[in-house]
């Protein structure tokens, strides 16, 4: 079920009514039923896979819990008989058992994810290698259609399994509750990838209907629909044209197109987040925020803490820290410190972890070399910044640059936006070669456009759409500026009279219907749903 469809609107209205009509202790059952209906809509086959993920995670959690309890009970019962070494040995055995259970769950679920998302890529690489020796493809290439949201729900549930293993959260005893945690419909397709404690705390709490939740949630949903349907969808055809015909664009026109892509993907993804967070707000549920005004970041590392932050947090918690503090990595750092100095020795373990994180992030986004390169370039910039930090500090001191001055911050924000934009377009053009071709076009074609239409071709095609793109971008920027100080909805409620506020949203509604709805069929669904 597409979020931009009349079916979805009917579905969420019915769900909302049912949610507040049933006794509060049964509210989460309504969510579960809704999630299963929503998910089944995408194809009953998919229900099997999400069910398997929920089942294996639930079983793994229970098993790890039981191993730990058995261990504790045994130690408590035999407290007098066991010496310190025996206790240590028992603890080690229990840990190994829990680790085996966790590993089995991880292998099964990540294995399923790999089969759906990466097997065809692997086969293509094998074919490529074999072709060098035999002169032709050996293995048949085929690709399975991945179940909806598999990347998101697999990461979310595996986070839970690891948390149970680390004993950060207790195992969930009820399977229906686990199923709801895995399949909660607003976030199953594109995240956010929530933490177990955070999400279940919201899902299983009893919620009361309030007008404030309704009005704030509805405002956010409307803003989300505007971002997606008017801004992102209007930009889609322009950006698509750039990606297909980039050799015919001048360097500056291609760069403007790339900026257009940056705005498109932000409006698309954050628009989705606004729609689902707004809806959950009406239900009384607070979801993890995925965006904290990312285009106002002063460095790439900061950008990635503010863009799709739930994925960043997952990688940080479950990949970066375990690698960074791993015994082998710390030993490697110590050895290098002795040989190359303190700074090198300290930065190395973090860099090793960053390389792993960014290559995995690239692969998570898509099974192509372009995405792997995209991850690599992001990692490279972050590692380079990490290593150059002392040098930069030295330069700033010598040049007397005040860290908090407006112009220095503005420079940092613009520089980061430019770099992020250039990195973003790399995998989106198609192959890695084409992505590099677009870069080449931007940096080497210095032709000065003679007409405005050469600079922004879309303005020539539909200037109504172009006008709304410009207005939407300005609005996006203004909202981000207001959000620096307070939530924009608070600002609206404080400063704008009730009827004027409604008028603003009526106008937004009309623009969505007039500009957005006709674009829905030609532009398809959300971009992040493909990941």
């Amino acid at each position: 079920m597409n979020l931009i469809s009349s079916e979805f609107l009917c579905f969420i209205v019915l769900l909302l009514i049912s949610y507040f009509l049933v006794p509060r202790r049964f509210q989460w059952w309504v969510l579960l039923a809704g999630s299963l209906i929503f998910y089944t809509w995408s194809g009953p086959r998919n229900l099997v896979f999400i069910g398997l993920t929920a089942l294996t995670s639930w079983a793994a959690g229970l098993l790890m819990d039981r191993i730990q309890n058995d261990h504790k009970q045994y130690v408590a019962a035999h407290k007098q008989e066991l010496d310190r070494d025996a206790k240590k040995e028992l603890r080690r055995k229990a840990l190994l058992k829990r680790r085996a259970v966790m590993a089995a769950a991880l292998v099964f679920n990540f294995g399923m994810l790999c089969v759906f998302k990466y097997l065809h890529f692997l086969i293509a690489q094998i074919n490529g290698i074999l072709a060098m020796f035999h002169g032709g493809a050996i293995v048949d290439t085929w690709q399975l259609i991945a179940p909806m949201g598999i990347s998101f729900y697999t990461f979310q549930t595996m986070g839970y399994v690891i948390d149970v293993y680390w004993q950060k959260v207790p195992a969930e005893k009820s399977f229906p509750r686990m199923l709801l945690f895995t399949s909660f419909f607003p976030q199953v397709t594109q995240g956010p990838i929530s933490d177990f404690t955070e999400l279940t705390g919201e899902l299983f709490a009893e919620h009361t209907y309030t007008y404030r939740n309704f009005s704030w949630g509805a405002m956010r949903m409307m803003w989300g629909f505007f971002k997606k349907m008017v801004l992102a969808n209007s930009l889609a055809s322009y950006v698509q044209d750039l990606f297909v015909n980039y050799p015919s664009y001048t360097g500056i026109a291609a760069l403007i197109g790339a900026f257009g892509y940056s705005i498109q993907i932000y409006a698309d993804f954050s628009g989705y987040m606004d729609i689902i967070c707004g809806y959950c707000e009406i239900l009384g549920i607070r979801l993890t925020e995925n965006f904290q005004r990312p285009y106002f970041s002063k460095s790439i590392a900061e950008y990635w803490r503010r863009w799709h932050s739930s994925l960043g947090r997952w990688f940080r918690t479950y990949l970066y820290y375990p690698i960074a503090v791993a015994k082998w990595n710390r030993e490697l750092g110590s050895r290098m410190e002795k040989r190359f100095g303190k700074a090198f020795g300290r930065a190395l373990p973090a860099s090793v972890a960053l390389v792993a994180v960014w290559l995995t992030t690239g692969l998570w986004h898509g099974a192509t070399w372009a995405y792997i390169a995209w991850g690599g370039v992001n990692g490279l910039f972050i590692i380079f910044s990490l290593w150059m930090e002392p040098v930069y500090a030295n330069w700033k001191e010598k040049l007397h640059i005040p860290e908090e001055s407006f112009w220095w911050r503005a420079f940092q924000v613009c520089r980061t936006f430019l770099l992020v934009t250039l990195i973003k377009v790399l995998p989106e053009v198609g192959t890695l070669k084409q992505g590099l071709g677009l870069w080449k076009q931007i940096f080497t074609n210095h032709t000065v456009p003679r007409y405005f239409a050469m600079l922004v071709p879309m303005a020539h095609k539909s200037y109504v759409q172009f006008l709304f793109i410009c207005l939407g971008t300005v609005l996006l920027f203004a909202v981000s500026l207001i959000q620096r100080r307070q939530p924009v909805r608070q600002w609206l409620c404080d400063r704008v009279p009730y009827l004027v506020r409604i008028l603003i949203f009526v106008l937004m509604f009309i623009v969505i219907l007039y500009i957005g709805v006709p674009l829905v069929e030609s532009t398809g669904g959300f971009m992040y749903a493909e990941f």
Binding site: S6, Y211, Y498, I502, L503, L507, L513, V517
Partner: protein
């Protein structure tokens, strides 16, 4: 409870402001050059003088030139056809015009869509256009309440919002005009005359010959309205003529079931003693109406094609008027026509 009340108040305010905001552009849309409203006003001015009407969908709107009919046949005709007009819409407009004009002849275009459109499962712009053509707000509301199912009302609201916004856009582009000078007694030639379907080679026709099957899934309601048209004309002593307008040879060759629709109409016409002509079966159709010049797209005549077609049509009507056998210029049915086409062999 207080929260629910406040929510309902906000939703109510939202829709009230929406209606107030849309009233201005919609007013512009209703008063401006749009074919529908201008057409309704024109017909009101001509009321009491018109004796011949043409009804049908876009094929008829683009094909029948009333001025030629008037000149060649000495009638005072009007083309009421518009995009996606339903059978119910045709009946409604016939009744309206018969109530204020000395109607002698009604020509109804017969297409497959007019039989298959089902208001329970789909909603057509044609119903909205028909409502607009009825000329008064109560008539439009009455028609819409009968033709559009209530679950399609949000779609209708959406359509009116689109039209209102379209008027605002026209205004800012400087294209807003109070009158469409292009429209002549309901006939609306294309603004851009250069667009053509293009030549269809014999090889291509052979390749596509009867490759697409589009079985008519006839909705009973349409047959009922067609019968009501027959009954109404009989009661009011109006001469009714059924016509299927020409479509491109590429289209005729592609579908394998045009004969099914033809037989539906032929049977209905025969049972009610009404003449029926399918111009795709006209013996000179391929010669006079070539895909290259006479068609704008697969199913609509170009301005040039309309000029040629109207002469063929007048000739047929004159033969009918003079008691001659007008059907001698037509093939018996589609199989008979295909048998003589080179692409069918």
């Amino acid at each position: 409870m207080q929260s629910f009340k406040q929510t309902l108040k906000t939703i109510g305010c939202f829709f009230l402001i929406l209606i107030l905001v849309m009233a201005i552009p919609l007013g512009g849309y209703i008063c401006s050059e749009t074919y529908l409203h201008q057409d309704a006003r024109e017909r009101e001015e001509l009321a009491g003088t018109l004796d011949t009407f043409v009804l049908g969908a876009s094929h008829a709107m683009r094909a029948v030139i009333p001025e030629v009919l008037d000149e060649e046949m000495g009638v005072n005709s009007y083309n009421l056809a518009f995009n996606l007009m339903t059978m119910q819409g045709r009946l409604e407009l016939i009744k309206l015009e018969a109530s204020r004009n000395p109607v002698k002849t009604i020509i109804v275009e017969c297409s497959m869509d007019a039989l298959t459109y089902n208001p329970n499962t789909e909603v057509l712009k044609g119903d909205q256009y028909t409502a607009d053509r009825l000329g008064s707000f109560p008539k439009a509301i009455s028609y819409l309440s009968r033709s559009i199912r209530f679950w399609h009302y949000p779609w209708l609201l959406y359509r009116y919002i689109l039209m209102g916004c379209g008027t605002v856009e026209q205004f800012f582009k400087g294209e807003f005009r109070m009158r469409n000078v292009n429209q002549k007694k309901g006939y609306v030639p294309y603004y851009d005359e250069s667009v053509r379907l293009g030549n269809t080679s014999l090889k291509k026709l052979k390749k596509v010959y009867q490759t697409v099957s589009r079985r008519p899934n006839v909705w009973e309601g349409n047959l009922k309205y067609l019968q009501e048209i027959f009954d109404f004309c009989r009661e009011h002593e109006i001469d009714l003529i059924l016509v299927t307008l020409p479509i491109s040879e590429r289209y005729v060759a592609t579908y394998d079931n045009l004969n099914d629709t033809y037989l539906y109409y032929r049977k209905a016409a025969a049972e009610n003693g009404v003449p029926f002509f399918d111009f795709n079966l006209h013996r000179q159709k391929t010669e006079l109406l070539s895909d290259e010049t006479a068609f704008r797209d697969r199913s609509h005549l170009s301005n040039e094609g309309a000029k040629v077609f109207i002469k063929m049509f007048v000739k047929t009507l004159n033969k009918l008027k003079n008691g001659e056998d007008a059907l001698e210029d037509f093939y018996e049915d589609y199989p008979a026509m295909y048998a003589e086409q080179p692409y069918a062999h």
